[in-house]
């Protein structure tokens, strides 16, 4: 049986980790390579780098970070932010990413999912989705970091994402993101019921039990968190021990 995955996400701006990471033993708290290496040491099952500026000029610096990390970290690396073309995908994979993550670009141009899956394989293509309750019992998809409502029905969108060949969906709930009250179990259940591809829970982790709860109550196969791990409030081994004690398969 596959283990459930715990995935820390590092937001990177101009080659530095946003807000910094508070780790013992890591001197430069803003160095993404050092932070990724520390997460690797802690037992992260995968590491996500997200380029939050995603400007054309900053691309080179960001890919240098990916390249350097791939020399020191030997678990899968997923890289997102600013990937809008097949060429961007190729360049990112060549820098050492194992998977690329696309979000707004996929909503604006769904063909990008099909092209990426066709050329590089489904296993390389993660579609990130920011979604929010629409007030009528459904969910709608947002782009540009959750700022613009695309008035696209979430459940229709995830079906299309799967049908176009995406290998995974990373589902971020805008309603629970930053609130720290736990992952959005309702939204996760709704999405997991619609697709067979793996769904990564994102947004809302605030305490230890939140991870196990997401795995026990929804079909999510992985859970992602950022600040919770960065500030050292919880460590990856703590989260894994809690899940393991509840019978959830963990590496």
């Amino acid at each position: 049986m596959l283990a459930k995955r715990i995935i820390p996400c590092l937001d990177v701006r101009h080659g530095k980790v946003v807000k910094g990471v508070n780790f013992e033993g890591v001197k430069d708290v803003g160095d993404p390579v050092a932070c990724a290496a520390e997460y690797n040491r802690q037992g992260a099952d995968e590491i996500v780098f997200y380029d939050i500026v995603a400007s054309h000029e900053g691309r080179g610096t960001f890919l240098d970070v990916v390249r350097e990390t791939a020399k020191q970290v030997f678990v899968p690396l997923t890289v997102g932010g600013g990937i809008t073309t097949v060429e961007d995908m190729r360049e990112t994979l060549r820098a050492g990413a194992d998977k690329i993550s696309i979000n707004s670009a996929a909503v604006k141009n769904p063909q990008l999912i099909s092209d990426g899956a066709e050329i590089f394989g489904s296993q390389c293509v993660v579609v990130g989705i920011d979604a929010k309750r629409d007030g009528n019992g459904g969910y709608t998809v947002y782009v540009n970091g959750g700022r613009i409502d695309m008035h696209v029905d979430l459940l229709k969108w995830v079906e299309e994402v799967e049908q176009r060949g995406a290998g995974e969906i990373c589902l971020n709930s805008i309603d629970t993101d930053g609130v720290r009250g736990g992952f959005d179990l309702e939204m996760l259940k709704a999405v997991c019921a619609r697709v067979r591809i793996p769904v990564i829970a994102s947004g809302g982790a605030g305490k230890l039990e939140d991870f196990a709860t997401a795995f026990q109550q929804t079909g999510a196969t992985a859970a992602l968190a950022a600040s919770l791990f960065h500030f050292g409030e919880l460590t990856i081994p703590q989260v894994k021990a809690d899940c393991r004690s509840k019978g959830i398969p963990m590496r």
């Binding site: 596959l2 791939a70 030997f74 678990v75 194992d98 296993q123």
Partner: protein, 201 residues
Amino acid sequence: MIAVIDYGAGNLFSVCNALSFLNIAHEVTKSADVINRADAVILPCVGAFPAAMESLHATGLVDTICENAKKKPLLGICLGMQMLFEKSDENGECAGLGLIPGEVHRIPSERVIIPHMGWNELVITQESPLFDQIEKPVYTYFVHSYQAFCDDRSIIAYADYDGKVPALVTDGNYVFGAQFHPEKSGEKGLQMLRNFERMAK
């Protein structure tokens, strides 16, 4: 020195990054001379079976690899592992290197997601120096849609994915194949690469 066969493989750089990190001397090569003087050989992986075999044949190294596999350790990774078998039916029937008896077919279960992607636990059925200094449980990272079908004697470890997926295989002598990616399997994967280097000495 380990010769890493260069035939346009997708994970060539990840494998080399891991070997460099471990300070294991290696040469990325298309040269028969380098393979002949290497202590061991790694066959990395790329895309689909027939295209990979075609690229490998295009290097003209097939006979050299098979000859060397009789006298020094050879490790095939992912598709490189599948290529060690006699044939595959991915995108039409295609002959492999035939170093281990068996065939490669699509993962048969319809109850699980294909590709088999993620961390799965190895069920170890034979002792191997490749597991030296590795504590159980051993989870390794898999990404594949096709799998080997072979005799249990060739299997050192398998993973359970609604059926037995051969994960680490051998010809009983020098030939080894890992369906998973040791270069993406964290510290335990790195230890397997160290152990492989040790076998070469």
